[in-house]
């Protein structure tokens, strides 16, 4: 490693530290508007600027040092009381922060920072024009009387800075190093399995019976979990950008907006969150620009003149769901249909807003040149193997829901064998495994198909689609779903499910559509991971890819539990629309009749009117919480026997106890929640009524 390499690494570390400092400075500038010249706030800003200046000096970014120094002067003036907080001042700090961010990125790459530096200086020089108090060049410095003595003196920023670092207890680490760590852990696990095989082959020992071998397996598992966890960041990391977007667009459109971020502690892979930043900003802008009405229009409609925009993040199983909702006018699907010149149902129209070039007054894909459009939002989410959907109620508001896997590095896969070769298919793309004997093979439009829940889904032989020589598969059928439709594939065998660490295939090979990546098997072999979208495309262009086989084998690994015998009625209670709708869709697909309620009170009303066989309720709800609901249900003679399943983000034993005491029959933790767990719990409770 050369000296240049080290310098480079230091600069990258500085870049990452600067990112944090600048994000905080941006946040703090926004807070200036509400908190004024709060000494605590101003001191915190000063520390951030000072640390930034020191860091820039160490890595030799002189231009950055000069600009930060000017910013520091400005903050010093605020602290000294020689300058007041104005919107112009906050704007100037924000503009400087933006310019510094650009300067640092450019400088680390070795580029020219002059343009960004000029913009920063202009912004800082421009404040004086609209700042009511006289600029510092005119007013002689006053003694720093307004600063309370309990705060640290301006000349000693070192001590508080260190304390702050300790409080955070964090250091920036290059992502590549974490990736290497994850890779090495994977290598360790593979070596562990090889040792197990050696024990069996050479010594005739059963590894699972050896305590030390099992201990090592456990430690490696934990190490792997921790290494993966180190890549996670919380949604807070994009809070600043969202807040900025709200402020900028509300100012630009003259709308009043109440902004709220919930579930910001939700963690996901840094790569994933970074790639969601722009789409989320776009959705927030869209909500204010096109959803929220002007104050007078809202008042006339009997609404609060200030619109409400809520970004809500939550972990559900191995997915993170982020919703962006507003209480604005909703999307006028009629106008979308009009703009496309086609006769569309409202569902079709809502789908169209994600396509390029659909523009109406209420949904604009290009967003007047600001940031990315809805088509790009969908593209970005697709790239992350996620989904984005929209629900809208005219006059009441719109909710966009993004659902993405927590990490792209690990993917739950179904392993299948095809003509002697093994492949992994990502589970999220699989909608069903069908026993062809039961489903029945048919022919539609000259191509083989198979019945799947009432639809004739086209069927291809996976081996033929992949171009592997050999006979036609006679095994189970795997049904995949992608945005472009559903397609079924014949395979020879199902070989189980596994979490797969997916690597890309590198740049030497051209992009291969049917492959999402590759992974290393415990035995050192290479496992290829298939891409559902690419497979569908390939199947569509592989004529006669399949010849009808006549029989299939029994499927021993069904993805979904069997349908319940009767059509039981389930009442889902949750204040979060997303969770409610998610549970509704899971339960309805499994054949249950589903009612929903948004609060404990609404649930009780519902229980008075309809017969309900099971209640699934959230705990944390405003007003009456889930535990109180459970207590009230147990106290009412007519419904006291209805089983209650409690779903919560709290996971401690005392929470569990509280739930059982309140009368809950079973407890599910949201982070461990998935389709299978929910359906299993529901089925069990319905078969054994309390």
């Amino acid at each position: 490693v050369t000296t240049t390499g080290h310098e480079d690494e230091f600069r990258r570390l500085f870049e990452s530290e600067a990112e944090t400092r600048l994000a905080e400075l941006g946040e703090q500038a926004l807070e200036l508007e509400s908190r004024g010249r709060d000494p605590e706030l101003v001191n915190a800003m000063f520390r951030n600027a000072h640390t930034l200046k020191g860091g820039a000096g160490v890595v030799g970014l002189k231009d950055v040092v000069i600009v930060v120094h000017e910013l520091e002067q400005l903050i010093e003036d605020l602290r000294a009381g020689s300058r007041d907080v104005t919107r112009g001042l906050a704007d100037a700090v924000l503009a400087t922060v933006d310019a510094l961010r650009e300067m640092i990125t450019v400088a680390v790459e070795g580029g020219d920072t002059q343009g960004a530096a000029d913009r920063a200086r202009q912004a800082l020089a421009g404040i004086d024009e609209d700042a009511p108090p006289a600029p510092r060049s005119v007013v002689p410095p006053r003694p720093p009387a307004p600063v309370p003595a309990r705060r640290s003196p301006p000349a000693a920023p070192k001590e508080p800075r260190r304390r702050r670092e300790d409080a955070r207890d964090a250091i920036p680490v290059p992502l590549a190093r974490l990736d290497e760590l994850v890779r090495l852990v994977g290598e360790g696990a593979a070596a562990h399995l090889r040792v197990g095989r050696l024990l069996t082959e050479r010594l005739g020992a059963e590894p699972a019976a050896i305590d030390e071998y099992r201990d090592l397996a456990r430690v490696l598992d934990q190490l792997h979990a921790q290494a993966m966890r180190a890549r996670m960041v919380s949604v807070v990391a994009v809070a600043g950008a969202l807040r900025r977007a709200v402020r900028d667009i509300a100012n630009a459109t003259g709308k009043e907006v109440r902004w709220e971020l919930a579930g910001e502690e939700t963690e996901l892979d840094r790569h994933v969150l970074e790639r969601l930043r722009e789409p989320l900003v776009a959705l927030v802008r869209n909500a204010i620009d096109h959803g929220i009405e002007p104050p007078e229009e809202r008042a006339a409609a009997g609404k609060d003149p200030a619109g409400h925009v809520l970004v809500h993040a939550m972990q559900v199983g191995s997915e993170v769901i982020i919703t962006v909702s507003d209480d604005g006018r909703g999307i006028d699907t009629g106008r979308v249909a009009e703009a496309t010149g086609q006769d569309l149902t409202s569902g079709e129209a809502l789908d169209r807003i994600f396509r390029p070039g659909v523009t109406t007054a209420s949904t604009v894909t290009g967003l007047s040149g600001r940031g990315v459009g809805l088509d790009e939002v969908r593209q970005a989410v697709d790239d992350l193997r996620g989904t984005v959907t929209v629900h809208t109620v005219p006059g009441e508001g719109t909710e966009f829901r993004i659902s993405v896997p927590i990490t792209l590095a690990i993917l739950r896969c179904l392993l299948v064998d095809v003509r002697g070769e093994r492949f992994a298919i990502p589970m999220p793309a699989i909608v069903a495994l069908v026993d062809p004997k039961m489903a029945g093979r048919i022919s539609a439009e000259g191509r083989p198909a198979v019945w799947v829940t009432g639809d004739a889904v086209p069927l291809s032989d996976l081996g033929a689609v992949l171009g592997i020589p050999g006979g036609t598969a006679r095994g189970p059928v795997v049904v995949l779903s992608t945005p472009s439709g559903r397609h079924a594939f014949d395979v020879d065998e199902l070989a189980g499910q596994r979490d797969v660490v997916v690597k890309d295939l590198g740049r030497v090979l051209p992009r291969i559509g049917v492959l999402a990546g590759a992974s290393i098997e415990p035995d050192g072999g290479v496992l290829l991971v298939l891409d559902a979208g690419g497979l569908l495309e390939a199947a569509g262009t592989t004529p006669a890819a399949h010849r009808n086989g006549d029989a299939g084998t029994e499927i021993d690994a069904p993805v979904r539990p069997a349908l319940p015998r009767g059509r039981a009625t389930v009442l889902v209670v949750d204040d979060a629309l997303t969770i409610r709708e998610l549970q509704r869709s899971i339960l309805e697909r499994a054949g249950y009749v589903v009612h929903t309620a948004a609060s404990g009170r609404e649930a009780l009303e519902r229980l008075g009117k309809d017969a309900v066989d099971l209640i699934v309720t959230d705990v944390e709800m405003p007003g009456m919480d889930g535990l109180e609901l459970a207590r009230l249900v147990r106290d009412r003679a007519d419904i006291s026997q209805v089983p209650i399943l409690v779903l919560t983000s709290r996971a401690t034993e005392s929470d569990r106890q509280a739930g059982i005491q309140a009368g809950a029959d079973a407890y599910l933790v949201k982070s461990a929640f998935d389709e299978h767990t929910l359906l299993t719990a529901v089925a069990r409770l319905l078969e054994e009524p309390a």
């Binding site: 890779r183 290598e187 690597k503 295939l505 590198g506 030497v508 051209p510 049917v514």
Partner: protein
Amino acid sequence: MQALLLPLAGDWYALELATVREVVPSPVLRRVPHAPAAVLGVLNLRGDVVPVLDTASLLGLGSTTRIEHVVVVDSELGAAGLATDALPRRSALGEAAGPADLPAGHGRFAVEDGGVATLIDIGLVLAAFQGTG
């Protein structure tokens, strides 16, 4: 210049030693569906997935019939494996022995045992591969 001599159909082809990462004996290859014809498969190089290319086919010399060793080289695009049908060996390149016929060749050089080797530019070889792929 130090070079790794790569045997193909009885002739030597030379790679600049600095570009060679390692030589993998009797590699286990995984076939890749839908890959270009010159891709023999991928192999696991201590956790990295490396594509293995048919060197003879890339150089326009027919196709590699036996894969005895894979020479892993570093290129601007990442690691790539070159299949050979016999054991590669290290040698210094001696006197220039005329220009090469191959488009990716940088001339012929005398090597230690009295033979001649054609120096190939791995960047050009991969660029040509990507152009056809």
